[in-house]
Amino acid sequence: MIPSLIGVDSAQALRRVVCASPSRASTLWLSALGIGIGDADGHRAFQAGLRSTGLHGDLGRVPPQLTIIDWSLVAELCADSLAYATVVLHALVDRGVPVICCPPDDEHGRQLLMGGWTAPLRREGVVWLSVAGEHRKRAAGPVLLSPIVTFGGSHGPFQASTVLAQLEESLDRHGWPPSPLVSEMVMELVQNTKAHANASVAAMSAMLFPRRRPAMLQVAVADDGVGIPASLQTHPRYAWLGLVSDASAVESVYAARWSRRAPAAGGGVLGELLQLLLAEYESRIVVRSGSGHVCVTSRRPTRASCHSFSHGFGTQHLLEIRRPLA
């Protein structure tokens, strides 16, 4: 089935194939994921697709025979969608599910996705359709600042110096003022993922939106681990958190600096750094873990907005930082 799909003229043809045999394939319509977790409604829409993959722990569900990740209608790629898509894609392939990817319709998105820095999205077991013909023309959109990096499990260690140096160099090239706090935040997020998530794969992605006013930097780290609420509950002190929603548990980590480790044992540093970031930059931090979705902005750093979904998969962090005005 898969080889016959290669070389189809457009994503519409693929959709017809899926519609013809809906029981055999699940489609991950990434139009919604293109919005990313920064938008709770977008994430809710994406969940419908995610549920069909069976990745969220619905063990009673028969795994799909094929999953199609469709970027064709994504208006603008963003860092969190790339990081999350990388994790979803790797998790599916590792579970033996073949994946077909449709590239975006527009020229800029295609170039961005097919470039060298998105190599983790083109691993073995993933088929990318070569969609011929005219593509939508769009003004230059966001730029990737560093390669999408996978780490954890069998994906090897996180090459901090290489990745962060590349990120800093790219930011410098785009006229972003030096911001060591951003690099350190990435380092802490990666360290936190390694220490707590118990993930088989995690991914990091960074993008700059130079056309926004002021320009915006997005850094995202996603993993397929147990999630923050489940990780917290492994400690007897927080076992009672099973009674509250995932969103409340996630909020407590960032608002009250809760950690699986007690403060005396080195916990709570990530929450501290996030508050520092909110204080120093006009920024927004979005965390989606388990079924919880929490968003904090620098305008209201002590008031998180929380949403609860029906289910979730792993953890996603998104940092959105506006360029400081001169």
Partner: protein, 210 residues
Amino acid sequence: MTSERASLCPIDSAHESHTVDRVNAFIEEPAFRLRVRDVGNSDLFEASDAVAAETEILKKLGALPEGGLLVVDFAKVRIASEAARQLLRRAIMRITSGEYRDRYVVLENLDRSRYSVDAMLRLEELTAVLRGPSGPSLLGKRDRVAAETFDFVATGEAVTAKMVMDHFGLQNIAAATNRLASLAKLALVRRLGPRALPTGGREYVFSAVR
């Protein structure tokens, strides 16, 4: 400030004061440079790397003479908070608790991990001195009084309680002494030997860790 500096000159020159051998008499050991072990090809200094480095730091601190200063150099590494905690917490606690009395630690080249180490120290309620291009500064838990007093002490080679009292306009010498004694207890300044006052009595001289 000029008058303070002028009054400092006799202290700074041992042959004139005849009371202290040398002001700012830290015995600086060669810097302890952190290196990432060649395990897993990772260049992030992790908690597992920090275990061996911590043992080395504690050994070096134990071997320091009184007034010894150990420089921990972070130039080649990026360090996350967990590793920084493993590396520094015990050493600083042993110094401030008196186990390594009159030994000092200063951190250097922390540009790429400053925020993480600062947050870690703050949560641990510890304070350390960071050596930077613009002079020493405090990292970690610091209140306004401690920070401004340290900044003042760090502007010169050495100060006395009277200088602190004059500079901050304090009501009495005891308040100034308390400020300096608190910093000395945290191993952020070193209390040097007393010197005789021309009018009789004696006073201690303090020098900032740098």
